[in-house]
Protein backbone atom coordinates (compact mmCIF):
# COMPACT_ATOMS: atom_id res chain seq x y z
CA UNK A 1 0.00 0.00 0.00
CA UNK A 2 2.87 2.44 0.70
CA UNK A 3 4.63 1.74 -2.59
CA UNK A 4 2.19 3.65 -4.81
CA UNK A 5 2.66 7.06 -3.14
CA UNK A 6 6.41 6.47 -3.15
CA UNK A 7 6.36 5.62 -6.85
CA UNK A 8 4.15 8.62 -7.62
CA UNK A 9 6.49 10.90 -5.65
CA UNK A 10 9.49 9.50 -7.51
CA UNK A 11 7.82 10.02 -10.88
CA UNK A 12 6.84 13.57 -9.95
CA UNK A 13 10.38 14.36 -8.81
CA UNK A 14 11.85 12.91 -12.00
CA UNK A 15 9.43 14.97 -14.11
CA UNK A 16 10.29 18.14 -12.20
CA UNK A 17 14.00 17.49 -12.64
CA UNK A 18 13.50 16.87 -16.37
CA UNK A 19 11.51 20.09 -16.81
CA UNK A 20 14.00 22.02 -14.70
CA UNK A 21 16.86 20.63 -16.78
CA UNK A 22 15.14 21.57 -20.04
CA UNK A 23 14.43 25.09 -18.82
CA UNK A 24 17.99 25.49 -17.57
CA UNK A 25 19.36 24.24 -20.88
CA UNK A 26 17.11 26.59 -22.87
CA UNK A 27 18.08 29.51 -20.66
CA UNK A 28 21.75 28.65 -21.08
CA UNK A 29 21.74 28.79 -24.87
CA UNK A 30 21.23 32.38 -25.96
CA UNK A 31 20.31 32.91 -29.58
CA UNK A 32 22.63 34.45 -32.10
CA UNK A 33 21.81 37.95 -33.23
CA UNK A 34 23.17 36.98 -36.64
CA UNK A 35 21.18 34.85 -39.01
CA UNK A 36 21.57 31.26 -37.82
CA UNK A 37 21.72 28.02 -39.78
CA UNK A 38 19.72 25.09 -38.53
CA UNK A 39 21.21 22.56 -38.56
CA UNK A 40 24.68 24.03 -38.98
CA UNK A 41 26.97 22.42 -41.55
CA UNK A 42 30.73 22.12 -41.68
CA UNK A 43 32.22 25.35 -43.00
CA UNK A 44 33.68 24.51 -46.42
CA UNK A 45 37.43 24.35 -45.98
CA UNK A 46 39.86 26.03 -48.35
CA UNK A 47 43.59 26.47 -48.79
CA UNK A 48 44.59 29.89 -50.13
CA UNK A 49 47.59 32.19 -49.99
CA UNK A 50 47.60 34.11 -46.73
CA UNK A 51 48.51 37.77 -46.42
CA UNK A 52 51.28 36.66 -44.06
CA UNK A 53 52.94 34.84 -46.94
CA UNK A 54 52.07 31.30 -45.87
CA UNK A 55 49.24 28.97 -46.80
CA UNK A 56 45.94 29.79 -45.15
CA UNK A 57 43.65 26.88 -44.35
CA UNK A 58 40.37 27.67 -42.66
CA UNK A 59 40.51 24.40 -40.70
CA UNK A 60 43.73 25.64 -39.08
CA UNK A 61 41.57 27.84 -36.86
CA UNK A 62 39.71 25.03 -35.11
CA UNK A 63 39.39 25.97 -31.46
CA UNK A 64 38.72 29.59 -32.33
CA UNK A 65 35.69 31.47 -33.59
CA UNK A 66 36.26 32.80 -37.10
CA UNK A 67 34.55 35.73 -38.79
CA UNK A 68 34.87 35.06 -42.50
CA UNK A 69 34.35 38.00 -44.84
CA UNK A 70 34.71 38.55 -48.56
CA UNK A 71 35.74 41.82 -50.13
CA UNK A 72 38.53 43.81 -51.75
CA UNK A 73 40.97 46.49 -50.77
CA UNK A 74 39.77 49.06 -53.32
CA UNK A 75 36.22 48.81 -51.94
CA UNK A 76 35.04 52.36 -51.27
CA UNK A 77 32.52 51.71 -48.49
CA UNK A 78 31.23 48.31 -47.50
CA UNK A 79 34.56 46.58 -46.76
CA UNK A 80 36.09 49.39 -44.67
CA UNK A 81 32.84 49.63 -42.69
CA UNK A 82 32.73 45.87 -42.09
CA UNK A 83 36.40 45.69 -41.11
CA UNK A 84 36.06 48.65 -38.74
CA UNK A 85 33.12 46.87 -37.10
CA UNK A 86 35.13 43.65 -36.75
CA UNK A 87 38.07 45.57 -35.25
CA UNK A 88 35.72 47.25 -32.78
CA UNK A 89 34.18 43.88 -31.85
CA UNK A 90 37.63 42.41 -31.28
CA UNK A 91 38.53 45.30 -28.96
CA UNK A 92 35.30 44.82 -27.01
CA UNK A 93 36.09 41.13 -26.59
CA UNK A 94 39.28 42.10 -24.74
CA UNK A 95 41.01 38.92 -23.51
CA UNK A 96 38.44 36.69 -25.23
CA UNK A 97 39.50 38.29 -28.50
CA UNK A 98 42.55 36.04 -28.59
CA UNK A 99 40.16 33.24 -29.56
CA UNK A 100 38.56 35.27 -32.33
CA UNK A 101 40.06 35.39 -35.83
CA UNK A 102 39.07 37.50 -38.78
CA UNK A 103 39.75 36.01 -42.20
CA UNK A 104 39.09 38.24 -45.19
CA UNK A 105 39.05 36.59 -48.61
CA UNK A 106 39.57 38.86 -51.57
CA UNK A 107 37.17 38.90 -54.50
CA UNK A 108 39.74 40.87 -56.53
CA UNK A 109 42.90 38.77 -56.94
CA UNK A 110 44.00 40.96 -59.84
CA UNK A 111 44.81 43.88 -57.55
CA UNK A 112 44.91 42.32 -54.08
CA UNK A 113 48.38 40.87 -53.61
CA UNK A 114 49.19 39.33 -50.22
CA UNK A 115 51.27 42.42 -49.41
CA UNK A 116 48.48 44.82 -50.26
CA UNK A 117 45.98 42.77 -48.26
CA UNK A 118 48.34 42.76 -45.30
CA UNK A 119 48.83 46.53 -45.20
CA UNK A 120 45.12 47.20 -45.83
CA UNK A 121 43.96 44.89 -43.04
CA UNK A 122 46.64 46.09 -40.63
CA UNK A 123 45.03 49.52 -40.73
CA UNK A 124 42.06 47.96 -38.94
CA UNK A 125 43.74 45.31 -36.82
CA UNK A 126 47.19 43.76 -37.32
CA UNK A 127 45.85 40.30 -36.41
CA UNK A 128 43.36 40.23 -39.30
CA UNK A 129 44.48 37.91 -42.04
CA UNK A 130 43.73 38.16 -45.73
CA UNK A 131 43.55 35.41 -48.31
CA UNK A 132 43.98 35.37 -52.05
CA UNK A 133 44.47 32.78 -54.75
CA UNK A 134 43.88 32.12 -58.40
CA UNK A 135 40.59 33.35 -59.85
CA UNK A 136 39.44 29.74 -60.09
CA UNK A 137 40.33 28.93 -56.47
CA UNK A 138 38.52 32.02 -55.25
CA UNK A 139 35.49 31.29 -57.42
CA UNK A 140 35.25 27.83 -55.84
CA UNK A 141 35.38 29.29 -52.34
CA UNK A 142 32.69 31.85 -53.22
CA UNK A 143 30.50 29.11 -54.66
CA UNK A 144 30.85 26.99 -51.52
CA UNK A 145 29.62 29.92 -49.39
CA UNK A 146 27.07 31.34 -51.83
CA UNK A 147 28.95 34.61 -52.27
CA UNK A 148 27.81 36.67 -55.22
CA UNK A 149 30.16 38.85 -57.25
CA UNK A 150 29.42 41.21 -60.11
CA UNK A 151 31.46 41.81 -63.24
CA UNK A 152 33.85 44.77 -63.09
CA UNK A 153 32.00 48.07 -62.85
CA UNK A 154 33.78 50.91 -64.65
CA UNK A 155 33.19 54.49 -63.63
CA UNK A 156 33.42 57.03 -66.47
CA UNK A 157 35.36 59.57 -64.44
CA UNK A 158 37.93 57.06 -63.19
CA UNK A 159 40.72 55.18 -64.96
CA UNK A 160 39.84 51.64 -66.01
CA UNK A 161 42.17 50.27 -63.36
CA UNK A 162 39.93 51.79 -60.67
CA UNK A 163 36.99 49.48 -61.33
CA UNK A 164 34.48 48.58 -58.64
CA UNK A 165 32.97 45.21 -57.71
CA UNK A 166 29.60 44.49 -56.21
CA UNK A 167 29.76 41.56 -53.79
CA UNK A 168 27.97 39.89 -50.89
CA UNK A 169 28.62 41.98 -47.82
CA UNK A 170 27.70 39.59 -45.01
CA UNK A 171 30.17 38.02 -42.60
CA UNK A 172 30.03 34.31 -41.84
CA UNK A 173 30.58 32.97 -38.34
CA UNK A 174 32.40 29.67 -37.90
CA UNK A 175 32.44 28.11 -34.44
CA UNK A 176 35.29 26.42 -32.62
CA UNK A 177 34.47 23.04 -34.11
CA UNK A 178 34.47 24.34 -37.67
CA UNK A 179 30.70 24.52 -38.07
CA UNK A 180 29.20 27.31 -40.14
CA UNK A 181 26.82 28.74 -37.57
CA UNK A 182 25.67 32.15 -38.71
CA UNK A 183 25.75 35.00 -41.13
CA UNK A 184 25.89 38.57 -39.87
CA UNK A 185 24.34 40.91 -42.41
CA UNK A 186 25.91 44.24 -43.29
CA UNK A 187 24.57 46.93 -40.99
CA UNK A 188 24.88 44.98 -37.74
CA UNK A 189 26.70 46.63 -34.86
CA UNK A 190 30.00 45.78 -33.20
CA UNK A 191 27.94 44.95 -30.10
CA UNK A 192 25.98 42.35 -32.08
CA UNK A 193 29.20 40.80 -33.34
CA UNK A 194 30.74 40.78 -29.87
CA UNK A 195 27.58 39.15 -28.48
CA UNK A 196 27.61 36.37 -31.05
CA UNK A 197 31.32 35.66 -30.74
CA UNK A 198 30.88 35.36 -26.96
CA UNK A 199 27.95 32.99 -27.49
CA UNK A 200 30.03 30.81 -29.81
CA UNK A 201 33.06 30.93 -27.53
CA UNK A 202 31.00 29.80 -24.57
CA UNK A 203 30.17 26.47 -26.20
Amino acid sequence: MTRRPALASGALLASLLLVFGMVAEAAGTPELRAGAFDPPRAAPDFALKGSNGSELKLSRYRGKVVALGFGYTHCPGVCPTTLALLADAKKRLAAAGSNFEVVYVTVDPERDTPERLKSFLAAFDPTFIGATGTPQQLAEVRKAYGITLSEKIFVETLPKSDYLLDHSSSVYLVDRTGQLRGMMPFGASAGDMEHDVRVLLSK
Partner: protein, 147 residues
Protein backbone atom coordinates in the same frame (compact mmCIF):
# COMPACT_ATOMS: atom_id res chain seq x y z
CA UNK B 1 -39.44 49.39 -20.83
CA UNK B 2 -41.17 47.82 -23.79
CA UNK B 3 -39.44 45.10 -25.82
CA UNK B 4 -38.89 47.48 -28.74
CA UNK B 5 -37.33 50.08 -26.44
CA UNK B 6 -35.11 47.39 -24.96
CA UNK B 7 -33.98 46.32 -28.44
CA UNK B 8 -33.17 49.92 -29.34
CA UNK B 9 -31.23 50.28 -26.11
CA UNK B 10 -29.16 47.14 -26.86
CA UNK B 11 -28.56 48.23 -30.45
CA UNK B 12 -27.41 51.65 -29.26
CA UNK B 13 -24.92 50.03 -26.89
CA UNK B 14 -23.62 47.75 -29.66
CA UNK B 15 -23.32 50.71 -32.02
CA UNK B 16 -21.42 52.59 -29.34
CA UNK B 17 -19.02 49.70 -28.92
CA UNK B 18 -18.53 49.47 -32.68
CA UNK B 19 -17.89 53.20 -33.12
CA UNK B 20 -15.76 53.82 -30.05
CA UNK B 21 -14.66 50.49 -28.63
CA UNK B 22 -13.24 48.81 -31.73
CA UNK B 23 -11.10 51.78 -32.85
CA UNK B 24 -9.99 52.30 -29.25
CA UNK B 25 -8.94 48.66 -29.05
CA UNK B 26 -7.18 48.89 -32.42
CA UNK B 27 -5.34 52.03 -31.35
CA UNK B 28 -4.26 50.94 -27.88
CA UNK B 29 -4.22 47.13 -27.64
CA UNK B 30 -0.69 45.67 -27.59
CA UNK B 31 0.57 44.33 -30.89
CA UNK B 32 1.36 40.65 -30.88
CA UNK B 33 1.37 37.66 -33.18
CA UNK B 34 1.29 33.91 -32.65
CA UNK B 35 4.77 33.83 -34.09
CA UNK B 36 7.18 36.58 -34.97
CA UNK B 37 8.55 34.51 -37.82
CA UNK B 38 7.82 35.29 -41.46
CA UNK B 39 8.51 31.96 -43.13
CA UNK B 40 9.49 31.41 -46.78
CA UNK B 41 9.99 27.88 -48.05
CA UNK B 42 11.55 26.24 -51.08
CA UNK B 43 9.37 23.22 -51.84
CA UNK B 44 10.77 19.85 -52.78
CA UNK B 45 11.19 19.53 -56.53
CA UNK B 46 11.91 23.21 -57.13
CA UNK B 47 15.22 22.55 -58.86
CA UNK B 48 13.65 19.89 -61.08
CA UNK B 49 10.82 22.27 -62.05
CA UNK B 50 13.32 24.96 -62.95
CA UNK B 51 15.37 22.51 -64.97
CA UNK B 52 12.19 21.67 -66.84
CA UNK B 53 11.85 25.34 -67.79
CA UNK B 54 9.40 26.67 -65.21
CA UNK B 55 10.04 30.30 -64.28
CA UNK B 56 9.01 31.57 -60.87
CA UNK B 57 10.34 33.61 -57.97
CA UNK B 58 11.43 31.73 -54.87
CA UNK B 59 11.17 34.84 -52.80
CA UNK B 60 9.59 38.26 -53.45
CA UNK B 61 12.01 41.06 -54.28
CA UNK B 62 10.68 43.03 -51.34
CA UNK B 63 9.71 41.67 -47.93
CA UNK B 64 8.05 43.87 -45.33
CA UNK B 65 8.40 43.09 -41.64
CA UNK B 66 7.32 44.90 -38.49
CA UNK B 67 9.32 45.15 -35.28
CA UNK B 68 7.65 43.37 -32.38
CA UNK B 69 5.15 41.62 -34.66
CA UNK B 70 6.93 39.90 -37.54
CA UNK B 71 10.61 40.63 -37.21
CA UNK B 72 12.26 37.27 -37.82
CA UNK B 73 12.80 36.10 -41.38
CA UNK B 74 12.97 32.32 -41.76
CA UNK B 75 13.97 30.63 -44.99
CA UNK B 76 13.68 26.86 -45.34
CA UNK B 77 14.99 24.63 -48.09
CA UNK B 78 12.97 21.42 -48.54
CA UNK B 79 14.49 20.71 -51.95
CA UNK B 80 17.14 18.08 -52.70
CA UNK B 81 19.81 20.57 -53.76
CA UNK B 82 21.33 23.68 -52.16
CA UNK B 83 19.64 26.96 -53.04
CA UNK B 84 20.85 30.51 -52.90
CA UNK B 85 17.83 31.92 -51.11
CA UNK B 86 18.13 35.68 -50.95
CA UNK B 87 21.55 36.39 -49.48
CA UNK B 88 22.37 32.90 -48.21
CA UNK B 89 23.21 29.49 -49.52
CA UNK B 90 20.89 27.06 -47.76
CA UNK B 91 21.54 23.35 -47.91
CA UNK B 92 18.80 20.71 -48.37
CA UNK B 93 16.65 20.37 -45.23
CA UNK B 94 18.40 23.34 -43.69
CA UNK B 95 16.79 26.56 -42.53
CA UNK B 96 18.14 30.03 -41.95
CA UNK B 97 16.68 32.26 -39.26
CA UNK B 98 17.47 35.96 -39.43
CA UNK B 99 16.16 38.13 -36.60
CA UNK B 100 16.00 41.91 -37.02
CA UNK B 101 16.65 44.18 -34.07
CA UNK B 102 16.30 47.55 -35.74
CA UNK B 103 13.72 49.09 -38.04
CA UNK B 104 15.44 49.95 -41.29
CA UNK B 105 15.65 49.02 -44.95
CA UNK B 106 18.10 46.22 -45.60
CA UNK B 107 19.49 45.50 -49.05
CA UNK B 108 20.99 42.14 -49.89
CA UNK B 109 22.55 41.05 -53.14
CA UNK B 110 20.28 38.40 -54.61
CA UNK B 111 20.89 36.92 -58.05
CA UNK B 112 17.34 35.55 -58.12
CA UNK B 113 15.89 38.95 -58.98
CA UNK B 114 16.41 41.08 -62.05
CA UNK B 115 17.48 44.00 -59.87
CA UNK B 116 20.07 41.76 -58.23
CA UNK B 117 18.73 42.89 -54.87
CA UNK B 118 16.48 41.61 -52.12
CA UNK B 119 15.00 44.46 -50.12
CA UNK B 120 13.79 43.83 -46.59
CA UNK B 121 11.87 46.72 -45.10
CA UNK B 122 11.59 46.44 -41.34
CA UNK B 123 9.07 48.94 -40.06
CA UNK B 124 9.05 50.18 -36.47
CA UNK B 125 6.58 48.71 -33.99
CA UNK B 126 3.38 50.74 -34.47
CA UNK B 127 3.14 53.33 -31.71
CA UNK B 128 0.11 53.63 -29.45
CA UNK B 129 -2.77 55.62 -30.87
CA UNK B 130 -3.25 56.80 -34.41
CA UNK B 131 -0.25 54.95 -35.89
CA UNK B 132 -1.33 51.65 -34.35
CA UNK B 133 -4.91 52.18 -35.53
CA UNK B 134 -3.68 52.90 -39.04
CA UNK B 135 -1.41 49.85 -38.97
CA UNK B 136 -4.26 47.56 -37.84
CA UNK B 137 -6.57 48.99 -40.49
CA UNK B 138 -3.96 48.30 -43.18
CA UNK B 139 -3.41 44.77 -41.83
CA UNK B 140 -7.17 44.12 -41.86
CA UNK B 141 -7.42 45.44 -45.42
CA UNK B 142 -4.57 43.16 -46.49
CA UNK B 143 -6.26 40.18 -44.86
CA UNK B 144 -9.58 41.01 -46.53
CA UNK B 145 -7.85 41.33 -49.89
CA UNK B 146 -6.15 37.96 -49.41
CA UNK B 147 -9.51 36.33 -48.67
Amino acid sequence: MTPSHRLRYVLAILAGIAVVGVPAWAAFAPVAADTREAVYEIPKGTFARRQAGAKFDLIPSEIRLTMGVKDVLVMKNHDDVPHLFGPVLIMPDQSFRLPFRKASTYLFTCPLHSSGLLTIVVEPEPELGWKRLRWRTAAAAQLAAAL
